[in-house]
Symmetry: C3
Subunit: 279 residues, 3 copies
């Protein structure tokens, strides 16, 4: 972990699994604006599947890299609220993250390595009464607001020498095949895998997939390249292989669940590209 520092912007993003009904996210926004009326608050998602830390890690990976340098990202998917898990401030060369130390930072760390981690132990930067169930309001929001006013991260508490990371499945490559895992399903049922450009050349087309009795015989360049209701494989917007159904749900079509394995095989003697319909 290195020692560079980014200057914090008064730009704060919020990612939670709180839903949008109850006003809990509103309370976090009120706390932030009470501490720093100049803060600019941007919602990333409040519909992360409940207590699903791996999904939260992917949502952060989808959005945070696109924000300006120095942005402060608050993420609260926190099944351990009130237990002894730490609340931490994580610094990368690009941004600050304020979140529970439960692995949420894992995919960000892969892109932009974590440099420093501080446990929030200076309770003066939290609300005076910390509830048992809502550290988003009482800890994470006020700490982020103080950081956005220029508080150096090292002042929130004690430096940590390690942090929690999720145990990620890895893709494996053989002579004529690649094996990977479904790591995320988006709200439409598109299934993101961990098979990336290191394993598959996405400009080639000669891969086919057989999965739960369903078959896809090439890589496509657009959802609309196959008829409505037909399955396809495509390079997703974060660079990895995605299984999709044009206008439908790959999760349903292939009867998949996050964590399922899949195997691509190189097509033999087949110019699969010629089969592509609809372009």
């Amino acid at each position: 972990m290195q020692e560079e520092r980014v200057e914090a912007l008064p730009l704060i993003t919020l990612t939670t699994d709180f839903g949008d009904q109850d006003g809990f996210v509103g309370a976090m926004k009120g706390v932030i604006l009470s501490i720093n009326p100049e803060a600019q608050i941007v919602d990333i998602s409040h519909a992360v599947p409940r207590q699903d830390v791996a999904a939260g890690a992917m949502v952060l990976r989808n959005a945070c890299p696109y924000f300006p340098e120095g942005t402060i990202h608050v993420a609260v998917i926190d099944p351990g609220v009130g237990s002894d898990r730490e609340a931490v401030v994580v610094e990368t060369a690009h941004a600050l993250y304020v979140l529970p130390d439960n692995g949420l930072i894992t995919l960000i760390d892969q892109l932009t390595p974590v440099q420093r981690v501080f446990a929030v132990t200076q309770l003066g930067f939290c609300l005076p009464d910390i509830s048992r169930t809502f550290h988003g309001r009482d800890v994470f929001a006020p700490v982020a607001a103080h950081l956005s006013r220029g508080l150096p991260p090292e002042e929130v508490g004690s430096a940590m020498t390690s942090f929690a990371e999720l145990d990620l499945a890895e893709a494996t490559v053989g002579d004529d095949f690649v094996e990977g895992t479904v790591v995320y399903a988006d709200v439409f049922g598109n299934c993101l895998t961990n098979i990336g450009p290191d394993q598959v050349a996405f400009d080639a087309f000669d891969w086919c997939l057989t999965l739960n009795g369903r078959r896809v015989t090439q890589l496509s360049q657009a959802y609309a390249a196959v008829p409505t209701g037909a399955p396809l494989m495509i390079q997703s917007s974060n660079g990895f292989l995605e299984l999709a159904v044009n206008g439908g749900s790959a999760l349903a079509y292939f009867e998949l669940a996050v964590g399922d394995r899949l195997r691509l095989e190189r097509a033999k003697g087949l110019d699969a590209n010629h089969e592509e319909a609809g372009l």
Copy 2:
């Protein structure tokens, strides 16, 4: 198409069918703020029914006319992403729209005629790597951000002489009847029609509707004018006739679907107003 120009504000609205779970909208916001940190971003809807261009057109119609002159409206309901549909910047006398050329602009064009349309062909205003599946992030968001910094619309690419429009049903008027179509159902099941003040005088009450075995015998002035659970006809907030159920869903009550036809008949010898309950 005329040639007047509005000055772009740094106010950018977002309308998509991306849902609020996955962080995709967050990525668009990050891209915008990275290009123009002064941009003020306002969410209109991210819950447009998936790939439903006609519904997206209605959502734009519901919201965009109320924004200040010069606002930049980004709309991404884009079943053709990655195909050869154009990404366009559309200029009206009131605002700029950044969206796929697939008919999304149709209802706006009815209110405030389209003046100029430019295809986004200058890729320097897009992200360096344009993905196959997420032009919201890679094309529409960055183009809008550059426009909000003062880029003249004509610099995004080549002028187009025509643009896609949806084929809209029209209401027809007879001696003692009006026939129209359900054009949109809102999230509560209120059914908006294309029957407007040109076809029906909404201050009169003497119209009745029989539809799928259900009957409404007058126009109401408030949802609460009929008992809870009872159906009513009312002038909707955009001026057209709406079928509703007080505290319920007209979509369910009348067993309707968008696109269904309906027929109003003038009540004969009946002072229907006297039947109205609850006012």
Copy 3:
């Protein structure tokens, strides 16, 4: 009702039951920004259960107290739109509220007593054409925008000497028991009650609950203090007793509905704390 005044900030929050699909909230934002381009708009919730004024009152209670002094809170859960209910501006020592006079202010009034109430009768602060169904856009939003520009509340219309309040259940305390009511269920099924620190000392553990055949034998300090799927009682983030299930729904587990009564009994000769698992 006293006569102190807070200075209005250009900070406006929005709480509605409009959902996030149709662009109705977007229209309200456009109206506000057209009247006051400097206004900072913050969403609290647009997913209040439809026409549920009591739930809306709780959402306001969850969020509004955390906003800076002088914030203007707009709330539109308005089953009586178009009827003769008044649109009002309510002033407390902390904030301004712009809402229908239907009891939405009740729980705020308990925390920060209402000082003055004005009916919106000066239609010049509304949109020129007030629709029958959408006063959020035509009345509440523009009035809030004018207040955010410094319009004194008394100029919106005539002072009222009373206002609508919800009839709230009260908790009752006996020698060895407390009886209360479920007053709100959040989106996860956590059940908030009206049993507060005046009735129960939350640092003690010696209370047990039997409800619809299910039993909880102590108060917990964290959701994670019991195994996944197990029920617990905990002090909620607003200070009152909450029934929860770790990773699940108390609403389903206890077969509860809002309005149901429950009875806590003091445990006899039992150091219930020792039974607590998982801390």
